[in-house]
Symmetry: C2
Subunit: 458 residues, 2 copies
């Protein structure tokens, strides 16, 4: 039990308080979290509180209290023995987002430790662990001791959450998922941060997606989330920035599992396919911030330059292969990536008219990727490592009728009809060129996050 939770509290009073729009103290929030984990507070009481928190909102202080109480609800990683500055990056999730496979080795190549605990695919977004598990033999489920060994050898390790790490989040998330209380900036922020801060980080870069493929579709909610997380993580002693980044189309050209790994490795090898340029740029920006916040570079721009050098000299690629090997993966599959790629069936989606690719409903595209077999409709479903979509044209490109927009991969051709129909709905081709969307629209440092929260009365 957390030391901050007074024993005399009654859960019904805390539910009533939040119901009436009054903020709870750190001790009161710790009491709720402790009660969730030890089972002394019933699920129906927790979910009444969650609904009150969803509707009334959580203040900055409540988000911070909830983050810390959840972080401390179970086992934690101790990064101090690594002898390096520990940094990580977290993204709120999107389609085709494979920056982790680039930023982790890039930051490690610059002398940092990247203890990255990641998640799985659910809904329209892909999962870092599912992508890594498309590499034959790669084990994502390591003990904290094995995690430390890989980090010692490679500087980076990407693993799944253990059962004992942040149990409060598993319990509360399962309730939120069943009670329509997921999409709340404070609750999402605390859920994300509690897991990241359990990695014992010195610095954290948050990639908060905006646009049609983002989890929080309203830009305002995404900004609130970003600012809340920066303020809460900084209060907990972790230097943190949040970048608002574009998810109005898939990031890079591949959306799936193995095909995303290939795309990341191509960039680590120094190749620059034009359809992957946004992925390369965002990865370098994120890595630049990690390197800067980790104290290796005086500015994020200087960090970007160091990351670009680590890409050019092959040191990041070497770290990626070393990590794959250290986690039981067979890195020899990268000798002939196309040879290993056996999707079973392939279908080219040709453009049904001439014009500019104007708007993309990226959530619908993510769901099409899922239907091809690359994602899950329910937790625990099996995933096809080879399924996915490779885009030949990106937003803003001019395309002729009959020209290929994308190539779809699945185990059999019967799986194509529905995703093709979804893509034809999701991709709008227009006679006029769409306005470009900036890759990074805003950066929240502690100062700008605090200003934002003050303006929004959090």
């Amino acid at each position: 039990m957390s030391a901050a939770a007074p024993a005399s509290l009654r859960v019904i009073d805390l539910i009533r308080k939040k119901r009436d729009g009054i903020a709870l103290s750190a001790g009161e929030i710790a009491f709720l979290v402790d009660g969730a984990v030890d089972g002394s507070i019933a699920p129906e009481q927790l979910s009444a509180w969650l609904m009150a928190a969803w509707i009334r909102g959580l203040t900055r202080e409540e988000t911070c209290s909830l983050t810390l109480a959840m972080r401390d609800s179970g086992e934690k990683f101790d990064s101090s023995r690594l002898g390096k500055i520990a940094v990580d990056k977290h993204s709120t999730g999107g389609v085709g987002d494979k920056t982790s496979f680039l930023v982790a080795p890039l930051a490690a190549a610059c002398g940092l430790a990247v203890p990255m605990i990641s998640g799985r695919a659910l809904g329209h977004t892909g999962g870092t662990l599912d992508k890594l598990e498309s590499i034959p033999g790669y084990r994502t489920s390591l003990s904290l001791a094995e995690f430390e060994t890989v980090l010692d050898r490679c500087g980076a390790s990407i693993v799944s959450q253990t059962q004992s790490l942040v149990p409060a989040d598993r319990i509360l998330y399962a309730l939120r998922d069943r009670t329509a209380t997921v999409e709340s900036p404070g609750l999402i922020g605390a859920s994300i941060l509690s897991k990241k801060l359990a990695e014992d980080l010195d610095a954290l870069v948050l990639d908060v997606k905006t646009g049609s493929g983002s989890f929080l579709r309203k830009a305002e909610d995404a900004e609130d989330l970003a600012a809340l997380m920066v303020a809460a993580a900084e209060s907990a002693g972790t230097r943190t920035v949040a970048l608002m980044t574009d998810m109005s189309q898939p990031l890079g050209r591949a959306a799936g599992n193995w095909i995303e790994i290939i795309e990341a490795v191509e960039l680590l090898r120094g190749l620059r396919p034009p359809e992957s340029e946004d992925l390369r740029e965002l990865s370098l920006i994120l890595a630049g911030w990690m390197i800067h916040l980790g104290g290796i570079a005086v500015t994020p721009e200087a960090g970007y330059a160091l990351a670009e050098a680590a890409l050019a000299d092959g040191s990041a690629l070497a770290i990626f292969f070393k990590m794959v090997d250290a986690q039981g993966g067979d890195a020899s599959v990268f000798d002939d990536t196309a040879g290993f790629h056996a999707p079973g069936a392939t279908q080219v989606l040709e453009s049904w008219q001439s014009g500019y690719i104007a708007e993309m409903d990226t959530t619908a595209i993510g769901l099409a990727v899922q239907r091809l077999g690359a994602g899950r409709a329910e937790p625990g479903q099996a995933i096809d490592p080879h399924a996915g979509i490779l885009f030949d044209a990106r937003r803003g490109a001019h395309i002729e009728k009959g020209q290929p927009i994308a190539t779809l991969y699945a185990t059999g051709s019967a799986l194509f009809a529905e995703p093709v129909a979804m893509l034809r709905q999701a991709i709008h081709i227009s006679a006029t060129r769409p306005d470009p969307v900036p890759l990074v629209s805003r950066v929240f440092t502690l100062e700008s996050a605090e200003n934002h929260l003050r303006e929004k009365s959090f």
Copy 2:
């Protein structure tokens, strides 16, 4: 399962809808109620919906839908075989409120059937069933068949809820009690009405308490509740009025169990102790409305006159004794009520100063009655039938220092210290005479209820 509930609904969508302040349809509410009763909807999902309903409020239509779905969730009484108009009165609960023992025989004496299903003491309010059970042998737990037999013989019967009657209310109330979602006009209204309408009533008179001893302390909330219940009950085809009545002091002179029965029987015998005058007046007003709505009198005033006549000619007293006998009670205890009354210990509370009895914290008085042994802090606790408080002076009376304010009854004198201290806190004696409070401050008919709901945007 209710016919109105489409099978394709998903509970999470209904929680989300209410969370976002959108009213649910009758079919959607029936789906929730059916799922609560058959166990297909988990308690944590029901309580998330209850919290959303508490914060967002229920519309008039939602309150009506919830009332009907709950009413239809189990067994129902069929009043048609009685061959009489079925009417009832329900009070939102107070201290010293024993009008049921007067209005049931009064209305029955005027030719109506009164199938009254009542509740138990909890919190600061007394319970009709606990009061009746202070009569030796009186059985409150009758089957619906026995209930019908007593009604046939006596015209009135006061019993407890059966397990199979309105099971949805038991399930939802237990959740509301644990999740701080009790005090909501819509949820309270549906809970009350579902049970009353399961009695198959032609007409219903609601006594909604206001003031320091009422369940909803804010007059505005009590009015909303009254108007919502009138509108919902009328939509269900039951002629209904709600009277807003005073609970700024205990009703009548007795608060307890057996001593309340004695007070009611004294009035039925035609006695008029001045401290019981408010109880007599309110009982005649309520009975007058029942008789009017039941079609026996053209106006509530004419109903009042008929009720007063039934009091004067002893016919209501005869019905009360007949009902006691029919439900197994020993009516001979009323031959010498003082002789049967064996409280164990008695203490007189003398006034600590001279002046007017100005304000009474009636909730605190109710809790003092409970501590004497007449009520329950937890469901299922045993009750002392003889415990209680008999008031010698009422609000507005001038009293000299040392003069008795009240007499306390309990099984032993050790039980007096705390209630005496509570009463000294609860009763304020002032140099100035307090303004009188009207016994009935407002009457909601269907028309005035609809106007009120329109004004308040329900």
